[in-house]
């Protein structure tokens, strides 16, 4: 019984109504935050309040979120959201974090070392096999992309290899 209730609750959260409620709460918080900041009420020389457009935009977002709660399609569940699992969401966050890690790594040790490592890791994690192919593709793509950027006159960070590459 309890698991049935939990399932129903999870289904409701994925419906337009659930999405509407979450968005209404989030953007009402933002609306209050804007109203509490001093700049929002500041009048400029043209008699325009600095917070007019941000307030208007957030008010509109709350209004359209409320429509999602009450309109005739409130029980519809977006198909992609229906399929989304916690592990799926975490994979999405992980993909973004790993990408940031790649960028931070690249800034430190340079494009030519960080990129093959990133491509190798990402392609293998996504299921490309065997290892031999993964290594060849990762190295090849790094060299091709570096060459394209060099031809376009865009400098990529070289990190520790700086000064060792002639172009």
């Amino acid at each position: 019984m309890e698991s049935k209730n939990e399932k129903r609750k999870s289904q409701w959260l994925r419906s337009n109504q659930g999405i509407g409620v979450i968005m209404t709460v989030m953007f009402t918080g933002l609306f209050i935050y804007i109203q509490l900041t001093p700049w929002a009420h500041r009048r400029l020389r043209d008699k325009f309040t600095l917070g007019f457009f941000p307030t208007l935009a957030v008010a509109l977002m709350i209004f359209f979120s409320l429509i999602l709660i009450f309109d005739s399609r409130r029980r519809e569940i977006p198909p992609r959201l229906e399929k989304l699992t916690v592990s799926g969401f975490l994979s999405a966050v992980l993909a973004v974090v790993v990408s940031w890690g790649y960028f931070a790594f690249m800034s430190e040790i340079g494009f030519l070392i960080a990129t093959p490592a990133f491509l190798l890791l990402a392609m293998y994690a996504l299921g490309l096999k065997p290892w031999r192919h993964v290594i060849i593709v990762a190295l090849l793509l790094t060299v091709i992309v570096y060459a394209i950027f060099a031809l376009m006159g865009i400098e990529l960070p070289l990190g520790k290899l700086s000064g060792m590459i002639p172009f």
């Binding site: 600095l50 959201l81 494009f111 491509l119 996504l126 299921g127």
Partner: protein, 511 residues
């Protein structure tokens, strides 16, 4: 007034800008990449253009336009290759091509179908470019007569259209448009240059940069989604690949001139429906293709469109490519992009210092004329590339997503970083990648967000200019002319009609 708009010396200057090997080179590169992007399922024209925009800052204006417009045209056509070859549209725009294209492939007429897609795309594209060249200056003339009040209402009307027509749910479309307005207010206000909505973060003082936002929304969000799907459905993908290999083994006879000419009525339908869909903010190439296809199917029931006939491919392909030029009309005439890709091209023009506005023809006539020339030249290049490399592209669809996704991630990261050398641009890009992924999951369309983000400073500046002119009188500032009142009524009437007639739901069902 017209004399001011038509500047022969600007046309000569535009010829000088365009007629160079460098521009031709980037145009060919753009089309070659574009057709490849289109042929690879999972990548769209917007993804390709978003990745390439930051790379254009080292180029001159004509080369940058050559690369991006070539890519756009190529990608819209390229989608048909995988749609016909293995029933998987390379881009959403090519989804309507699957119905007849894949059936022709199964009948052993795959080559015929791909050639019809190419010729119909080029026909629709070229003729719609001529419409663009004729209509954009005329609309720009009208736009010049608008004051700040009318311009404000015009932007509001565009936001309303975008919101109500994009996506399957008008409230979600409108939410996306409102989010775009909100994001555009972060940073420094466009008139008083005072900081607002920075949440105490110093690097937000200059606001959110358009380029990382667009790369995040259009490229990263799709790749995040692709990565999640790949991790979940690895087995299914492998099965699909096997069927692709089998389908590609089939070739077949080429297209005769008579077969091409026989589909002229369908191409004409595609031309007009596609051009209309392109001009109206919020509709775009996918709607253009599906509308053309359904109109042709209803008008010519005897041709049995949908059962594997060349006319079905012609209607869909002419319909989607006919949106490419007209989608730039609102951008050139009013400074309002008609689609996500037009917004990206608008962003590229901003990088080049030619910010799209209603005075585009007056301020940057050579840029506008060179854009027209590149639009037309792009079709010739697209025809050549499609004809010569068609077979090769049909194999590109087999490129594993396991390679494609990390590659796009890498390109997006170095693209958004190299644009200004600012690491916070990468943070913004990745954050919007995640936001875009969330929006895809809850089915909130991304185009209204990006387009309203681009046009909100114009909306705010015009409203405040109107207020200054009318000494702070809001009523006068908003409704001082019959045109302003008319535009305001149009906003409400159109949104009421769109919601009442469930236009967005119908359009999404047609897809």
């Amino acid at each position: 007034m017209f004399e001011g708009m038509f500047q022969p010396e600007a046309i000569v200057e535009a010829f000088h800008m365009v007629l160079s090997l460098k521009v031709l080179y980037w145009l060919v590169v753009g089309v070659v990449i574009g057709v490849g992007v289109g042929a690879m399922p999972g990548l769209t024209a917007a993804t390709g253009v978003a990745i390439m925009v930051p790379l254009t800052f080292t180029m001159n204006t004509a080369s940058a336009l050559g690369l991006l417009i070539g890519l756009y045209k190529g990608a819209v056509y390229g989608g048909s290759i995988s749609a016909i070859s293995f029933s998987t549209p390379g881009t959403p725009e090519a989804a309507a091509t699957v119905y007849d294209g894949y059936k022709l492939m199964q009948q052993g007429k795959g080559r015929k179908a791909i050639l019809m897609a190419l010729y119909a795309s080029i026909t629709g594209d070229t003729l719609s470019d001529l419409i663009t060249i004729g209509v954009a200056p005329a609309l720009a003339l009208i736009a010049l007569k608008f004051g700040p009040t009318e311009r404000f209402w015009l932007v509001v009307l565009a936001c309303t259209l975008l919101g109500t027509l994009s996506g399957a749910h008008p409230a979600k479309g409108m939410f996306s448009a409102a989010l775009g307005i909100f994001l555009a207010t972060i940073g420094t206000d466009p008139v008083g240059l005072v900081q607002r909505m920075t949440f105490g973060i110093w690097w937000l003082a200059d606001g959110i940069n358009l380029i990382p936002l667009m790369i995040g929304i259009f490229a990263i969000s799709g790749m995040v989604e692709g990565a999640v799907e790949l991790l979940r459905e690895r087995g299914i993908t492998k099965k699909a690949k096997e069927s692709i290999s089998a389908a590609l083994l089939r070739g077949g006879p080429g297209l005769t001139f008579r077969e091409y000419i026989r589909a002229w009525k369908e191409m004409l339908i595609g031309l007009f429906v596609g051009s209309f869909a392109g001009m109206l903010p919020g509709l775009g190439a996918t709607v253009g293709a599906f509308l053309s296809y359904s109109v042709a199917k209803q008008v010519f029931p005897k041709k049995k469109i949908g059962t594997g006939v060349l006319e079905g491919v012609a209607a869909a392909e002419s319909g989607n490519n006919a949106t490419v030029g007209p989608t730039l009309i609102p951008l050139l005439a009013f400074g309002i992009p008609g689609s996500s890709t037009a917004a990206l091209i608008g962003g590229a023009l901003m990088i080049q210092g030619a910010t799209p506005s209603p005075r585009m023809f007056e301020l940057y006539p050579a840029v506008v004329y060179s854009l027209f020339m590149i639009l037309l030249a792009g079709n010739v290049v697209n025809l050549g590339v499609g004809r010569v490399l068609g077979g090769l592209y049909s194999r590109l669809g087999r490129l594993p997503r396991e390679i494609l996704i990390p590659l796009i991630f890498m390109m997006a990261i170095i693209g958004s970083y190299s644009y200004q050398g600012n690491k916070y641009d990468v943070v913004v890009m990745l954050a919007f990648g995640l936001i875009g992924y969330g929006m895809r999951a809850v089915r909130i369309p991304d185009a209204p967000l990006v387009i309203t983000f681009l046009i909100t400073p114009m909306m705010e500046a015009n409203l405040r200019r109107a207020l200054l002119i009318n000494r702070g009188d809001w009523l006068e500032a908003l409704f001082h002319s019959p045109l302003a009142i008319g535009l305001c009524i149009a906003c409400f009437a159109l949104s009421f009609l769109a919601i009442r007639l469930e236009v967005s739901k119908r359009l999404s069902m047609a897809k």
